[in-house]
Subunit: 453 residues, 2 copies
């Protein structure tokens, strides 16, 4: 039986496996879900074994465990290492989900669940592709799968884990599955991601909450100070106002700007997809340049005072914000965090104190050569799978592990995944298209086949 | 037995009654506490009966019920109406309380519980004063007590209630117990309060939360827009930047400014009490002028995005804020709300939509004449009770019902209460001094005695 027939025959059983995987709330950011994270790892390792991998283990790290699966029967053939993660984002605000985030629900050819697109769907697609190739005797190279449980919290434990298991992770090529395509009909070859760094801070005014009638007018309100401080972080032209923020950023070359011009962008279609009245960003740059070629500073959360139903006339003691920056090549995460911290300190309004907590794990931006052998193979497979050649671009998000994998294992990871950008990752009602799930299984099988020759 | 001996003899039993009253979580703002609010009303009405009031009922209103108690045996003598409220502010963030908010705890001569100072302590003090006078045959005028359950949500149902029971509420003088003294040793005669109006608003950017890596740089972040908009509401000199906000405000007269100068203000002591590094407010005005003579605009709550533990790289779909303004004479609450709304509309940043919800019940500022017979009596009683004459001032907070009582029942309410401004009302660890509780009982008994002659 060919691997294609194998996949076709087992299609509904494989969908059930996917649902089972999705039903485990492996939220790495929330300590209450620690056991769920481990349960997902154990389920996944067992499923790799069942798929025919010769070894599949749940290995400890300093944080959440790592799944390492190996199918390496050929001492003289090349080895491909697949990178993915089995952890998912939080699913707060369950009232904003149309179905419970961990009860996978199929609606209109889409499976709705937290982690469906980011990225349990792609992990399952890879696993099933390998299973089909093994079962049909067509897996003609060595395969390793490294599936971590801390990607959504910036992979704090993975570098030490890789260092510890360096020998066992040795390979000739790396595939990064945490990636996507442009649309259901147009493939995408990703050639880079932005870096990231972040911090949280508190502003403290009075020693305790005050009555806003009794004290309003005579005491700095930390919420007013927070608004002023956050507003100071951007210029009216949409650029970041932090001193030195752009110092290490190389101007986009004319060649790169010309390359960006070729990536499709349907303004009206995207506007409707995202539900925005208009787009907004740094003046002088196009949409793809803004999201992948230029650095940004975004507030991800801001809060203080009374936020419940009704009113409460309070001047709160504290106000809080969480910030992340996306970085482009040459920007150093630690340096950027220091610059933002310095901006907060120098722009601090009167009457409040500042406390900053820097997030430990930043990551540099990552870019790879378009003529890398992995990119060449991916380009050919995608063209065959979709019937059109892939659009080649970079991503605005960050996959901090790419730089780590490159640095520690010596290869540029090739991004090859099947998420689509409207799939509400990190939001309520995240979903994955069943068509993408099918394409993913076939795509990974084709890529592994091509890389064997 | 004199009323003084009566109070002394029953001191510990009366404290137990106070604790029982405090243990009922009568939070009017939160629907989950609806039954608790009613329970507090029923307990209070029964306690008025027990105190010797000839009638005491829990009467329905459009919202939470009202307690109406009457001791009116003298057809030819004057009638005093006491106004108070039995509802309390929310007690969110229980982790910030040193003891549970509805388990009254006595520490160092203070009783700690939500509502202790605002204002169950004063309601109990008045009730017990009347009880002592009745028991000792020394209550020589008619007394009515109107204790509502919606003061902390701006008394939306009370005007209609008063209209409905106008005849029964007829009186010759009104005492407002929702008031305070300057310190443990210096009394205060309140001659006015600020008015209030408020609104909530939402900013909506994208139709759903977006990944801040994928879309950061190309989409307006509602949190950035919120910061910009909130920051635009104040000028660098601390004044309110809303166009027309000060149009109807009369400049403080030289006489009033001279009068304000006489009110004690110990900057260092107050700085330490409030835990602020420095005071901040509208340039050109003193502390009492800022908090009672000038209008303000305060954000009471502001929130959006991810606020949980760890990080979540999101551009949220929405951001939210709650605002209240404090008003001085001549400012119309509806007009001010309209001006703030217009400011939000005209200063709305690009890429977000605005939704405003105006709070229904605003209130005008209230001021009364220093030579009103009730003020004269209160001044004399306070001087006797404290051994020094009262400081005469106004309050920064709002008691919207004062204007309503005046308008509907035809008398200026005399403010006569025993809260102190450091008692953490509307904050965690609210408390009431037991010494104030004792002074309150004696003070109300002395005032009722004086008004009978």
């Amino acid at each position: 039986m060919s691997w294609k027939d194998y996949l076709t025959e087992r299609q509904s059983a494989h969908l059930e496996d996917f649902r089972t995987f999705l039903s485990i709330p492996s939220i790495s950011a929330q300590p209450a879900h620690r056991d769920d994270v481990r349960q997902a790892a154990e389920w996944l390792a067992a499923r790799f074994k069942q798929a025919g991998f010769l070894q599949a283990e749940v290995l400890p790290s300093a944080g959440h465990p790592v799944v390492l699966a190996e199918y390496c029967p050929y001492p003289d053939k090349p080895t491909v290492l697949f990178y993915g993660h089995y952890d998912v984002q939080p699913a707060d605000n369950p009232e904003r989900w149309n179905s419970p985030p961990f009860e996978p629900t199929v609606v209109d050819g889409r499976i709705v669940a937290r982690g469906a697109s980011d990225m349990k769907g792609q992990v399952m697609a890879f696993l099933l592709a390998a299973e089909a190739l093994i079962a049909s005797g067509q897996l003609q190279l060595n395969v390793k799968a490294l599936i971590e449980g801390e990607e959504e919290i910036s992979s704090p434990s993975l570098p030490a884990f890789i260092e510890q298991h360096k020998e066992r992770l040795r390979c000739d090529m790396i595939i990064n599955g945490d990636s996507g395509q442009l649309s259901e009909t147009v493939p995408l070859l990703g050639l880079g991601v932005r870096g990231i760094c972040g911090l949280e801070f508190d502003l403290t005014g009075p020693g305790h909450d005050l009555h806003s009638g009794t004290w309003g007018g005579q005491v700095q309100n930390p919420l007013h100070a927070m608004a002023e401080l956050i507003a100071s972080l951007h210029n009216p032209d949409g650029s970041v106002a932090v001193k030195g923020f752009y110092d290490d950023v190389e101007p986009l070359s004319p060649e790169l700007r010309a390359w960006y011009q070729k990536i499709p962008w349907n303004e009206e279609e995207m506007r409707q997809k995202l539900g925005v009245s208009e787009f907004y960003g740094e003046a002088g740059y196009g949409p793809w340049e803004r999201t992948t070629g230029r650095p940004t500073l975004e507030v991800n959360g801001m809060w203080g005072g009374y936020t419940g139903p009704g009113g409460m006339t309070v001047i709160p003691s504290t106000a809080h914000a969480k910030i992340t920056c996306r970085l482009v090549p040459n920007q150093d995460p630690d340096k950027i965090v220091s610059l933002v911290k310095a901006h907060l300190e120098t722009h601090l309004p009167i009457g409040v104190r500042l406390t900053v907590r820097v997030k430990e794990s930043g990551a540099r931006a990552f870019r790879m050569r378009a003529d890398h052998p992995g990119c060449v193979a991916a380009r050919e497979v995608l063209a065959e799978l979709y019937g059109v050649p892939p659009v080649e671009t970079m991503f605005g998000g960050s996959v901090p592990i790419l730089g780590t994998l490159k640095q520690m294992l010596g290869h540029d990871p090739v991004s090859f995944g099947f998420g689509l950008e409207d799939e509400l990752i990190h939001s309520p009602n995240e979903f994955f298209r069943l068509s993408s799930f099918e394409k993913g299984k076939r795509g990974y099988a084709m890529l592994l086949t091509r890389l064997a020759h």
